[in-house]
Amino acid sequence: MGEIVINSLGDVFAVNNVLVILISVFAGFIFGALPGLTATMGVALMLPITYGMPPTLAMMALLGMYCGGTYGGSISAILIRTPGTPASAATVMDGYALAEQGKASDALRMSLFASVFAGIFSALALLFIAPQLSKFALEFGPAEFFALAVFGLTMIASISSDNLRKGVVMGIFGMFVSTIGIDPIGGLSRFSFGSDELIGGVNLIPALIGLFAISEIINKSQTAHLRSNEKVSHLEKAASSLKNFMKHFKTILKSSAIGTFIGSIPGTGPAIASFLSYNEAKRSSKNKEQYGKGSMDGIAAAEAGNNGVTGATLIPLLTLGIPGDTVTAVMLGALMMQGLAPGPQLFQTSADMMYTIMFGLILVNIMMLLQGFFAVKFFAKIKNIPVNMLLPSLLILCFIGAFAVNNTVFDAKIMLLFGLIGYIAPKFGFPVTPMLLGIVLGPIAETSFRRALSVSRGDWMVFVTEPISLVFLLLSLISISFPLLKSIFRRKN
């Protein structure tokens, strides 16, 4: 055992590993940052390249791309109000507000620190408690998934603080959008109006690009012809990063744990983790008003949340051979092509490989910190690009991104439609983030609800007799009623 660990450590630090990580993390930054190109897509594109590599090298390349891409999403979320990946949607609100205040570098750095800390946290969880976590994750049946989704949906309350009613409307609208396409339980098509393309459903990525990027491009372009007198570049000097980091340490630690927990459950994903972390950070924060208007804590929470997922998604993959999301499904493919079948046997048959992957994940995060530290300075300069150059280029990237999801123009049309929604809705006070939440959580809530009732033969008690489910439902109840009760109390006093 000890020998294996030492050998693996030696393997990880081989020169070509380090080199491949360097390259793939950087490629990940770019994939994550470009709207429409996600970490998932990057990993899928990387896959054929890794087929010819030795197993360790192949996994390092994929992990570098995955972690880099998950962090990279926050770069564009902060700088241009466009989450590069769905997982960074929670970062947009505070990140962009900070960037507008000239604190782009600070925000980027906070996101980097939080991401790296959470990444290492979850790699350690993978190293030490993977079997226990995977056992717990298996406990998540339909009832538990439903309760988790409901808990997630209560976040609509905290991300649409100005007008709860309008937030709920958008959330429900998002859930409606997610019902388009083939009914995941019955297999019949819904709201597809006979269109082949709609049978496939509305893809999350084009919807995301539309809601955030396209709408922002329209907004910005309305004033692009005005020469603003204020200097475009008002980048403040970054405050001492370490001190900043320590100030938010508690949030980061908590969010890393949430991310790791969510990541270990197959079928969840980084978007849910970052929203849950954000919600929890806001709930426990003393300055709630700050959230959404440029809170460092908010960025730290959201980014630690989504990067906490990175190591944890490998837990079900490596211990059970079950990929929890698309990225790990691609990694499963990569391991299979290398002749390694992930699963309960892998720890016995290729323990060295397992440890190499785990240490590799830690190394990936360390490299990410180093590279990110320099890249942040470079990325922050995007703020200096004149809008009349930035917008058309962004628009092109958006189209490429939407098209690339499935190589179809239909997705680009979907993107435009959602761009219109994202542009018009906020003008009437309807926030778009709850809609995204609805699109992400709607399918989980619906399918698990129906599955739970099928398994229980229509017995509704299943949601409260399962302990984990009960806990989440109670948490949801508290999270909804607490603000209400508080305001009632305040009125009485």
């Binding site: 083939i182 019955g186 499904a329 499935n406």
Partner: protein, 336 residues
């Protein structure tokens, strides 16, 4: 926008470097080894694209990529793989059927796209839109239960007919073959059972491991590891022959249930393709499938080769279509 441009260039060059790291010494191309009269056909004149109607990383995608690699080392053109997922494979299939591209576009498809999907919904294609090149792979479907389950054999499960227990069975999606296979069995055995659809095979396997469903039907390739680790028991095989790695597990046919379901995959081209080009392509594919490289892949990925000629593929698809249609009708899922 110099920066983005520059980063694109940087990214591209990085990917090339990575690709260079990746390519082994597989470049000992054997040149044009397919002699004979087919050389008169001018094909391929440009890169060949294999369209996979499912996501990257899945078993279809892996098969396509392994085949592409094996093919491109025998011909002077590149062979690329494009993933075009959606709606159970029907979107990509409909697209090829409607655009009728030339033989440089090959479609990889699985049996269900032609045998179950047309019964479940209106689709914009039929077998007649295509010519088949050859069969590709074959994966049996097995019935599995959790190790803690009271049933140790198919006979144990069949006796549940007398009790009034209701069984919940999980599968990779409504109308898919694992769903149909179990529905047909529980129906024929007279067992009261409820279908629980999951989003793909993996979630169904984790539901079985977590004890959330009583049985699942799945491909043995990916659950054998759980059988080896003692977490899952396999009770029966939905094919006419036993599965070679589990010689003690009976088939449903042996137990008196006439169910024959397995997933097999094949390659198609537009029906406008001329016979000469089709024959040339068939020989390229056959050479690739016979290569050591591809055979090694099949072994690693737990897949079995399905050697069928193009005509046999079409014939079998038509036969399967009517069989599957009957079961779907019995289940009340039929769109017609």
């Amino acid at each position: 926008m110099k920066k983005t441009m520059r980063s694109f260039v940087v990214l591209l060059s990085f990917l090339f470097i990575l690709a260079a790291c990746g390519s082994n010494s597989d470049e000992n191309a054997t040149g044009n080894s397919n002699g004979g009269g087919e050389d008169s056909v001018d094909y391929p004149t440009q890169p060949i694209e294999i369209i996979v109607p499912w996501a990257a990383g899945g078993s279809s995608d892996q098969t396509a990529r392994a085949l592409a690699e094996a093919m491109s080392s025998n011909i002077n053109q590149d062979v690329t793989v494009t993933n075009r997922e959606g709606a159970g494979g029907t979107i990509a299939t409909a697209e090829v059927a409607q655009t009728q591209p030339d033989a440089h576009t090959i479609l990889l498809d699985a049996v269900g796209v032609f045998t179950t999907q047309p019964h479940l919904k209106n689709v914009q294609y039929s077998i007649d839109d295509f010519k088949a090149i050859s069969g590709l792979t074959y994966e049996p479907i097995v019935l599995a239960v959790n190790a803690d389950s009271p049933w140790d054999s198919l006979d144990d499960l069949i006796t549940e007919k007398k009790s009034d227990t209701q069984i919940s069975y999980g599968h990779s999606g409504a109308g898919g073959l694992p769903d149909l296979a179990q529905a047909a069995f529980f129906n024929q055995a007279g067992i009261n059972a409820e279908s629980i659809a999951y989003d793909g095979q993996n979630p169904a396997v984790s539901a079985l491991l977590g004890g959330h469903v009583d049985t699942i039907a799945a491909h043995p390739g990916s659950i054998m590891q759980h059988v080896d680790s003692g977490d899952i028991k396999i009770l029966g095989v939905f094919s006419p022959e036993r599965f070679e790695k589990l010689p003690d597990v009976p088939t449903f046919k042996e137990k008196g249930y006439s169910i024959d379901m397995s997933v097999w995959k094949f390659l198609l081209v537009s029906q406008e393709t001329s016979d000469e080009v089709k024959n040339k392509l068939t020989s390229i594919v056959n050479d690739a499938m016979a290569s050591d490289q591809f055979q090694q892949f099949l072994k690693d990925a737990n897949l079995t080769e399905q050697s069928l000629s193009g005509e046999e593929v079409i014939e079998r698809l038509k036969k399967n279509k009517s069989q599957h249609g009957k079961i779907i009708e019995n289940m009340g899922l039929s769109a017609e």
